[in-house]
Amino acid sequence: MRILISGLFLVLFMACSPGNKSEEQAFVDDLDSAPIEDQAVSGEVNEILHRIPSPLEISVLLKESGKKYNVAFLNSPDNLSRYNTNYKRALNLGIYGTDLGYTNIYEQSQDGIKYMSTIKDLANELNIGQFFEMETIARLVSNSNNLDSLLLITTQNFNTINQYLQTQNRSHLSVLFLTGGWLEALHITCEVAKINPDNLQLQETIGGQKIILENIMHLLSFYKENDENMAGLLADMEGLKQTYDKVIITSIYKPSTFEVIDGVMVIKDNSSSTIEITQADIENIRTMTQNIRTKITS
């Protein structure tokens, strides 16, 4: 009887283990970054994680405003071997995720394949490699007509990973992954703005990141007591926040109007916001971002 019950537990346990590695190995790998997560914190973390915009929005902005593709802005896939802790793997998974989105938006399939392969390797190390079907993605990357499908699959993959990590009480990896992705998008935007100093849209985009930074700092603050890596990252973000304190965002609310066109309610937004940011602020933000990114990618 005992053997039967033990056997049933074992079967159930194994059926619930989706990883490529054993749970034991995943546990050992996670020891270098395993903050305690209680349910109340987890709920708030998940809520904030959901609201952080996709870095893809910035890549689309850059492409559609006519800015040229520049692979030099990105983190080289050759740096992969440097990332030997889950802390660095998760942050750089986010960075490479943004880089992949950037290559996809610009339809740079050869670079895209390299980034996809790098992401798959990092994801395997984090025991989430099962979410990437490389054959399907490689097929989509090879044909620019498949851009929509490619973007859909990669976006869905990253959303699924975040959901999975949350159910596994490994949301801290989601937080790092998201922080890396956001930082890379900010870095790329700052580099493009440096080349195009008169572009007001880019300046506003950089200034608007103040709201995201505040949310990311809030996320990191949940882990600062239990994880010195995340506490260090939060301290770096606090430095960036001091620079952002000079950026002033003013919002005015006015009720919106709408009309229904072909079954879609099209809103006319009568509210507005203005972002006050100087060239000096942008240069300071660029330098601070570059410093934090260098720590993560080196």
């Binding site: 959901h50 893809l56 929005e57 809103i267 509210s271």
Partner: protein, 139 residues
């Protein structure tokens, strides 16, 4: 021994039946993705199922100069009494998908004010209390 098999078998079978009768918001939200308007890039899916609260709420940071689309998919036709309400960071109402007793299944929102927005789903004369939703964007 027989009892153990009966119990285990029953648990598996009953859990299967239970799952089948539940709301499949995951599938409904996935079905919503291709229904995003032309030119919109997919961002997120949201599950809309009645839990402990009378509503389901998510938030997202919208960016000035970007147009967003939120749509609703329900098991029956159209939005099946599911209303999506959009509010800004200060909880000012920006849009509601119920107009003149009609339930609109998609909202297009060209954002003019960067900030946190709350996307709230409520149930009004719905038959299922179950649905899915997708969020997309375009510049």
């Amino acid at each position: 021994m027989k009892k153990i098999f009966v119990i285990v078998f029953s648990v598996f079978v009953l859990s299967g039946f239970h799952a089948g009768a539940q709301c499949n918001a995951e599938i409904l939200s996935t079905q919503c993705i291709p229904k995003l308007g032309s030119g919109f890039n997919f961002l997120k899916t949201y599950k809309v199922e009645k839990g402990g609260k009378e509503y389901v709420e998510y938030s997202y940071v919208f960016t000035k100069g970007t147009q967003y689309m939120i749509n609703i998919c329900a098991p029956s036709q159209n939005a099946d009494g599911i209303i999506v309400t959009l509010e800004d960071a200060e909880r000012n109402k920006v849009a509601s998908s119920k107009v003149n007793d009609q339930y609109i299944s998609a909202i297009a929102y060209p954002c003019n004010k960067t900030g946190i927005y709350y996307i709230r789903y409520t149930f009004d004369e719905t038959s299922s209390y179950c649905g899915g939703s997708a969020l997309g964007f375009k510049r």
